[in-house]
């Protein structure tokens, strides 16, 4: 693989940015670190979501399903296996799950996929509950010495992996195939691209990443219960943040995640009794004013600057 000087620039910049982000716990152990964990978590989830949904235009609402499975892997395994191995297991299970879901649904057209993924979190929650009910399982506790800073670093590390994966996919034959599929699936199929295989392979990325994120966050929850681990809100937030940022670029979701998290925090802090209402209003404003997300806005500004420079 040969890298151009622009590639080197991008890589250097990304490495510096991640290194800078990793320094946060040294600056603050408090409030901003907690916000940092939220931002890092949604960055990982939204970016991996956009890797699949950006090029294919399939809206996946399965994030909560993968996340919950990851949390339960740690919940069940923490007393038997070392923590690090659980992250790997969670990733594998998430990827396999995504592959199975992909095999059954990705041959269908978009809307069926959306409905199926929305139901998936609920389905898995019911399966886990059924197993617990059958075995008379007691509450699941994850008692570890893992701190907020550890969780944050793990998430930043995972973010680095996600960005690297995205960057590599973008340069690969798979990435090229996906762009064609996104433009016109019919054309892609006629060009000899195995569209279903490409989509399934790509869908395994958010599957694995979602599960690993759930596994990383499990020690923060301490007590794992289905209602909290499989909350459907998570799936929607990830989609909203990714779309706010824009899915056209690898760095798109992150420019959605940061302002959205801060906006949410500001609303929660200032209007604790009207969070849902104000959030809804913000969505309306975002949809009307920023239909292509922040990425679209930035592109527009650049284009205008370019024109002015020419004139």
């Amino acid at each position: 693989m040969r890298l151009s000087s622009k590639d080197w620039q991008t890589l250097t910049f990304a490495t510096l940015a991640l290194a800078a982000a990793a320094c946060l716990p040294f600056l603050t152990a408090g409030y901003w670190l907690t916000i940092g964990v939220t931002i890092a978590m949604y960055t990982v989830l939204s970016t991996s979501w956009a890797l699949f949904s950006g090029p294919t235009h399939y809206i996946s609402l399965a994030t909560a399903a993968f996340f919950g499975v990851g949390a339960y892997v740690v919940g069940y395994g923490i007393e038997h296996l070392p923590y690090w191995s659980l992250l790997v297991i969670a990733g594998v299970i998430g990827a396999v799950m995504a592959a199975l879901v992909g095999l059954t649904t990705l041959r269908l057209s978009g809307v069926y996929f959306v409905i199926f993924t929305l139901g998936l979190a609920e389905f898995i929650r019911q399966v886990i509950t059924w197993v617990q009910n059958w075995t008379g399982q007691k509450g699941i506790y994850v008692l570890t010495s893992i701190t907020e800073a550890h969780i944050y670093w793990q998430l930043v590390g995972l973010a680095a992996l996600v960005f690297l994966t995205g960057w590599l996919i973008g340069r690969s034959r798979l990435g090229f195939a996906l762009r064609i599929i996104g433009d016109d699936e019919e054309v892609a199929r006629h060009s000899g691209i195995r569209t279903a295989r490409a989509k399934i392979l790509l869908f395994m990325v958010p599957g694995a990443v979602g599960a690993i994120t759930g596994a990383i966050l499990a020690p923060r929850y301490v007590y794992i219960e289905p209602i909290l681990a499989f909350t459907p809100m998570l799936s929607f937030q990830v989609v909203i943040m990714a779309l706010l940022g824009g899915t056209g670029r690898l760095w798109g979701p992150i420019v959605g995640v940061i302002p959205f998290t801060l906006l949410w925090e500001a609303i929660s802090a200032s209007f604790p009794n009207q969070t849902t209402l104000l959030l809804g209003l913000s969505f309306l404003v975002i949809v009307y004013l920023l239909p292509r997300g922040f990425v679209g806005l930035i592109d527009d500004i650049r284009a205008r600057a370019g024109r002015e420079a020419l004139a």
Binding site: Y31, T129, N133, Y141, T147, R220, I227, T231, M233, A269
Partner: protein, 400 residues
């Protein structure tokens, strides 16, 4: 036109007044509270948690404020909605301590949200007297988080209480041996069912029907029909708020004739008797209080007067009591030294609206109400692990 000097004088007076007024008033103290106002647990928090925050702050301020080492502090609440999301609970506690400068942070709501917040309370060294967390793992949890206290008991104690009440009824000849038992297939329901089955078998009961139903089931008539077909002498449902109501409704529709009828969470809510009226008479449920005691009656009257809503007959009084523990400890220590406050909570017993609260070596209050029964429109405690004021359990006499 106003002369410049007059204006300056007026402005100076205004500024002086603005500065002087708060100084003349008492010191204020920020109290943080975070619990669901939206999301799946908002309903429970609205009945059990939020009114008590309002009432406690009202009560403390009404008696002149919190006395800390001779200085009187008026309490001012900063409330946050955690949207029933543990991440938001943690974030809100951070915000309360770091941004708002809250000196006192009240415990959150529910088992899951309390335990998710335990590490952050622990990191700040805040005393955390939980009032809505049920756990059998107090020992392990207090090892990890020595600042956390438990008051509401766990599944073991509750199951023990129910077995005790049902055994009393059977031994008196009010009910036979045949038991129908169902549970909601979710965390707490599963845990209770898991412990209740062997406990009832050991007590010599025969399980003639057992079943579970998914969380959020709309139609529970098949469950009740099947239970009735097994001709049980007693019925137990380890249920959550919506199904507690739905199962009672179905029992009335099917006219389930049993000598003991037990539904779990929310049976103790004032809304239960509000919905079923006289038909609720004799229904058993989780919780209970010393309903005839002066302490609870005064508390219930104040609760209704200040917040406009009635307290429930289980955790409401415990929520208020946990605030009282904090209040008494801060006043006794006479400073905001959290380590000293936590030690004081460990070392002392506290007189509260629920009665005396005393923590064991696991930071656990081991005497709590387990079973209550609607008797004459009041949900009275009939079994507890060592609380005073239990009344005798009565057989259920028909639905009409």
């Amino acid at each position: 036109m106003m002369k410049r000097r007059t204006f300056t004088t007026l402005a100076a007076i205004a500024v002086a007044a603005a500065v002087a007024l708060p100084a003349a008033a008492q010191e204020t103290l920020k109290v943080g509270a975070v619990a669901p106002k939206t999301g799946p647990l908002a309903g429970g928090a609205t009945v059990t948690y939020w009114p008590n925050v309002q009432l406690w702050v009202h009560d403390v301020n009404a008696r002149g404020g919190l006395d800390v080492g001779g200085t009187k502090y008026m309490l001012e609440v900063v409330e946050y909605d955690d949207q029933t999301n543990p991440g938001q609970t943690i974030q809100a506690v951070q915000r309360l301590v770091n941004q708002d400068g809250a000196q006192i942070v009240l415990p959150p709501y529910s088992t899951g949200l309390n335990l998710a917040a335990a590490p952050i309370y622990n990191r700040f060294g805040l005393p955390m007297v939980t009032s809505t967390a049920t756990t059998d793992k107090a020992g392990e949890l207090s090892q990890q988080f020595p600042n956390v206290f438990f008051t509401l008991g766990g599944a073991q104690g509750i199951v023990g209480g129910v077995v005790e009440a049902f055994t009393a009824l059977r031994d008196r000849g009010d009910i036979g041996n045949k038991l129908a038992m169902v549970n909601v297939a979710d965390a707490f329901g599963i845990e209770l069912m898991g412990q209740a089955k062997p406990a009832f078998e050991a007590a010599g009961f025969e399980l003639v029907y057992e079943s579970s139903y998914p969380l959020g089931s709309q139609d529970l008539s098949p469950v009740m029909k099947a239970a009735k077909a097994a001709a049980p002498d007693a019925f137990i449902a380890w249920s959550y708020p919506p199904d507690t109501f739905a199962l009672t409704e179905q029992a009335i529709v099917e006219d389930l004739q049993v000598g003991a009828f037990f539904t779990a969470v929310a049976t103790a809510f004032p809304g239960y008797v509000g919905r079923f009226g006289a038909q609720a008479e004799g229904v058993l449920g989780i919780g209970g209080v010393y309903a005839d005691g002066a302490a609870f009656q005064e508390y219930a009257a104040r609760h209704e007067q200040v917040t406009g809503a009635k307290p429930d007959f289980w955790a409401s009084a415990m929520v208020y009591s946990s605030f009282q523990v904090l209040e008494q400890s801060i006043e006794a220590v006479g400073s905001f030294d959290n380590a000293a406050i936590i030690q004081h909570i460990k070392d002392n017993a506290f007189e509260t609206v629920i009665g005396t609260l005393d923590f064991d070596e696991n930071n656990n209050n081991t005497s709590f109400w387990t079973v209550g029964q609607w008797q004459g429109g009041v949900f009275k405690g009939v079994a507890s692990t060592g609380r005073e004021g239990a009344v005798e359990v009565l057989p259920k006499a028909g639905w009409n």
